[in-house]
Amino acid sequence: MAESLVYRELGDPSRRFWSLLALLAVPLALAAGSYFYVEHYGHIVTGMDNQIVWGMPHVFAMFLVVAATGALNVAVAASAFGKTAYRPVAPLSALVSLALLVGGLALLMLDLGRSDRMIVAVTSLNSQSVFALRVILYDGFMASVGVYLWFLLERRMNRYIKPAATMALLWQLLLITGTGLEFGFNFRAMYDSVLYAPMFIAFASAYGTAVLILILLAVCRWEDSLVPDELSRRLKNLLGISVGAALFFAVLFLSSKYELPRSRDVARFLLFDGGVYTALLWLGQLAMGGIVPLALLLRARVSRASLATACILVVLGGLAQMYVTLIGGQAYPQILFPGMIESSSFFDGEIHPYAPSLPEVLLGIGGIALAASIVAVALRALAMLPERLDQAAGPQA
């Protein structure tokens, strides 16, 4: 029987840690400033208008939420599917998942037109609303991951890890499917496809795993240690499969949009005529976020540097994909009269321009900083890192 895992906090020295927190405080403060600025003057000071209603904060928020759901994969693989090599990093995976979700949710709440009504948002729920269901999904996910994390760390609860992990897996699936269908069930030309559900599951796995690997590499660097070869190899494979799946679904989605006459116009816009959206799709999502990382990862032995590079490219590709999905989906006009050329004083029938404004971008970066701060503080305060990364252990350890 393998020995039980021993967990500990992030190593010293503390001065370096306080410097890290001070560094993170800068984007946090800027984001807070941006929030109060927009809340006071109204969304007129942002780049959003009645045509592009969700801007940069939503791009970052959706990325964080999607990555949050996927970051749990490693922990679930360890606890629900018995992949013992991942067990040492299961708590880290759960923590990163929670932190990313909190960062994403914070962005969504702070970008409300009436953010003074945040309490209303979580207490007065419309029973018919798919969107209100998402509030329940978020809360359920956070609760189940919280419980699972607790069971992982507390020795006497270790025997209940598998059911807790299964529960967390269920909520994870519900949440990511719901996120995908938020777009999938929308009538806009660029959405309106149930493929968004599996596509977002693949995106989640890719982005979440990439973020997790980056954090793991950063932690090892902080402590001057190395990620063991076996763990590194498995993580590389997981990331590679996820990126491959993401690429597959993206290509399937784009092809299906192009193939059907009713959506060929929007497919042409995305693939050829969309200007910045086309560039971000091809260079960002498909090349940087798909083909190049696959080329880096599909080798037997991958150096740390290549792994880190692949992860960074996946993250950047993910942000590009979210921009194309969110902003591009709104830039392409709603078609009220198929087969007609539309024009009006309310900008029907034209591609809507959008330029991100500084407050929006600062708020978005603040969301990332919030997630990072939560990870940093939790690792320092709580014993979540394994004494040994190469100690493969069963779910009950």
Partner: protein
Amino acid sequence: MSRDANDGLSRRGFLAISATTLGGVMLAPGIRLIEIAAARSPEQAVSKLVRWGLLIDINKCAPGCSECVKACATENAIKSTGHARTDPQWIRKVELKDMRTGRTSSVPVMCQHCEHPPCVDVCPTGASFKRADGIVLVDRHICIGCRYCMMACPYKARSIVFEEVTGQNADVPRGKGCAEACTLCVHRVDRDQQPACVEACARAGHNAMIFGDLNDPQSEIAQRVAKYASTHIRADLLLNPGVRYQGL
């Protein structure tokens, strides 16, 4: 009493029967009318026996005319701020050109007051709601300004208010940060008046817009839609809007 040559109905008898029948026929719809479409008093709640609707005849809609748009802005105190991209618009004229035939037309588009509104389905707080009589409204007391309704609406009917609003019409509260759209002039409808756009169109002599109770078979709108073909915008979505169009 005198008797006719034919054995049967006397003249009096005939008149009596005719009068009774006629009276009965007239009273019967009268009784139903009182049931359905009588003016609702302010203390009464709205009921789903009524379904308010608009019928817009594109053939009568004059290109270049925007009386309905101007009337809406005046009635609801929507002032232009000079930033067209962020100014709310509750009704607009969409200029159309058929790509294949070259036919041009001009269509007033506003919130379609769907029977199955996607905006109501997605609103997380329930601020976007459908009243029992079919009018879709935004309860700005609980609207949090998340703009999901704007993403979901296939008719681009909703706007969000980007700046502080002053000088509101006391009957039409609207403010910064909340979503809003055509209310079918609910404050006028509740006073048995017509929406401002419909009135303005009639005043301008075009009479392209009719407002009324789609559930009342005696109303002009119900009789027209029963007689002449009418359709919805994006009828394929099967949302069953209360706004119908002729000549699309």
